[in-house]
């Protein structure tokens, strides 16, 4: 009975073969010109955030820093958790969003400096430093179709619209809770639909599945489809400038050089840039890393 013995050996041989194939699939690493720890950066999982991460990441790489741009994943919670548990060193967030996440009970404000005065210390508590915020803003937007009679959010009060947004919005004071709060907007919606954040919101709005969606001001489909952003007449939406947040330990390793470089970049990004990037990725369907590389080159930032 020789065959069964061969079976075992054959099985082991097969397993070893597989193991070798995968051991061979490794990655190489490059060298950086500036000495210091690797800066691990990760963008949130939507096209604008991915492009922003690529812009910051490629910019630092061009300056000679050792940067690892991780696969985009998760949203704000995962980004901040990543800082907390040592997975990440650098993230870029929207200051209003950071406010909601780090200090949910603090008063919201459409003034960026007020927001920064709250989240700055909050980030310090987890060992991170909030750097200068950029003039680029991607704010919350309540969007309706072009033919709607409303022009401010208050106008929605009795229209009985169907409301669409992602799941997070329904328990946020600056979002659904604020819209339906009698003390703020007091709107009565006839129904609600939960939609994944992104172009699907526009698809649903265009198809008539919903009448008002919570979107962001730099969504390129808004202009393209002739949608309207309603005016936030009660000032519910917080300021949403983008700002980089970096682990203080990593920042200290590099001294002022890194701080200045990052602040220099942040100052150069404008809201129009965000919209342009989104148009490239979501309408022209180009890739974020290409769009970022192109923008950096036009600005003469890639030496």
């Amino acid at each position: 009975m020789n065959r069964p013995v061969l079976t075992m050996k054959k099985l082991i041989a097969l397993l070893l073969a597989f193991a070798f194939v995968f051991a061979a699939c490794g990655d190489g690493d490059g060298d950086a010109a500036v000495d210091g720890p690797t800066i691990r950066l990760r963008g949130q999982d939507f096209s604008e955030a991915v492009t922003i991460a690529e812009v910051y990441g490629q910019y630092l790489q061009a300056k000679g820093y050792d940067v690892e741009i991780l696969t985009p994943a998760g949203f704000r919670t995962e980004a901040i958790d990543g800082l907390r548990n040592g997975e990440l060193d650098l993230i870029v967030d929207y200051i209003g969003g950071s406010l909601t996440a780090l200090a949910p009970d603090a008063a919201s404000s459409s003034n960026p400096d007020e927001v920064v005065s709250v989240i700055g210390p909050a980030y310090e508590e987890i060992g991170a430093t909030l750097l200068d915020y950029s003039p680029a803003v991607d704010g919350d937007a309540l969007v309706v179709r072009g033919d709607s009679t409303a022009s401010t959010i208050s106008d929605l009060a009795d229209l009985g619209y169907v409301f669409g947004s992602s799941a997070q919005c329904f328990e946020r004071p600056q979002c659904f809770l604020g819209y339906t709060d009698p003390a703020i907007y007091g709107i009565t919606f006839s129904d609600t639909v939960t939609i994944d954040f992104g172009p699907l919101l526009g698809e649903a709005l265009a198809a008539g599945e919903v009448d008002a969606v919570v979107w962001n001001t730099t969504a390129p489909q808004i202009g393209e489809q002739g949608f309207k952003v309603l005016e936030d007449d009660q000032g519910l939406h917080p300021a949403q400038n983008i700002a980089p947040i970096i682990m203080t330990a990593v920042l200290d390793e590099y001294g002022d050089q890194l701080r200045d470089d990052l602040n220099e970049l942040s100052a150069l990004i404008t809201t129009a840039d965000l919209l342009a990037w989104n148009t490239e990725t979501d309408i022209a369907k180009r890739e974020s890393d290409d769009v970022a590389a192109e923008w950096l080159e036009t600005k003469g930032l890639t030496s």
């Binding site: 992602s166 009565t188 919606f189 129904d191 939960t194 699907l200 698809e203 649903a204």
Partner: protein
């Protein structure tokens, strides 16, 4: 007229949420979501059974389609359900058909077809030829042979296939909540979006519970509807599944 969705309280205990009557009633309550889920799954299963059982039985009875069967089954198992449903959503929206029911219906149907088809096909194919010959010798017409003898013997295996399909459909239906719909998956979706772990666990428990209930119901039907003798014959006739 529904006044918007009441905010889900942040992270109350799972048991408290489950035992709170408010969680069960209302348009967003568990009962409504459960009904939504059950209705969709029932329709999917009905269509799958009505189309696959006759087709597979006929193919097996007339000894056709052997090679393509196993390939078809592997292929359909390999299709990423979420991708199919997700791909169909924009198409559905742009053609004015809304978020539901087509994308999720088609995706779930693709999941339900293979087990029912394969089990029916295998069961009919493996039916003891002796029994079929005896029936033919007794003068049964081909159609009668199929219905009274082959199907009856194959019933146990077919029901097992239906059970597997049903459980898979129920367990996968939650993705509907991520594609503009609701149903039982909404609690997992909302919990994930709102960082409410208790809600995620409660939602997952509800789905697992319904799937378990489905499995148990079918097993009971199998036990009750089929006499022991038929099951024993079926089991020995179709050992390699």
């Amino acid at each position: 007229m529904v006044v918007g969705q009441a905010a889900v309280p942040r992270d109350i205990g799972i048991l408290e949420w489950l035992f709170d009557s408010q969680s069960w009633t209302g348009a967003n309550g568990i009962v409504a979501s459960l009904t939504d889920t059950v209705i969709l799954c029932t329709i999917v299963m009905a269509v799958a059974i009505v189309t696959m059982v006759p087709l597979a039985a006929w193919l097996a009875h007339t000894r056709r389609g052997e090679v393509s069967v196993s390939w078809m089954v592997t292929l359909s198992r390999a299709i990423p359900t979420f991708a199919v449903a997700g791909l169909l959503v924009p198409i559905s929206l742009r053609n004015g058909w809304g978020f539901e029911p087509w994308p999720i219906f088609i995706a779930l149907l693709l999941l339900a077809l293979p087990p029912i088809f394969l089990n029916t096909y295998t069961a009919i194919k493996q039916v003891d030829p002796g029994a079929v010959d005896a029936a033919r010798a007794m003068g049964y017409s081909p159609a009668n042979v199929l219905f009274r003898v082959e199907l009856a013997l194959a019933a146990s295996v077919i029901l097992a296939g239906v059970r597997v399909a049903a459980v898979t459909v129920v367990a996968t239906e939650p993705i509907r909540a991520f594609l503009g719909g609701d149903g039982l998956g909404r609690y997992v979706r909302d919990g994930l979006g709102q960082n409410n772990d208790s809600l995620v666990i409660a939602g997952a428990a509800l789905v697992a519970g319904l799937a378990g209930l489905t499995a148990l119901s079918f097993r009971t039907i199998e036990r009750v509807a089929l006499p022991e003798g038929v099951r024993r014959v079926a089991r020995t006739a179709t050992r390699q599944e």
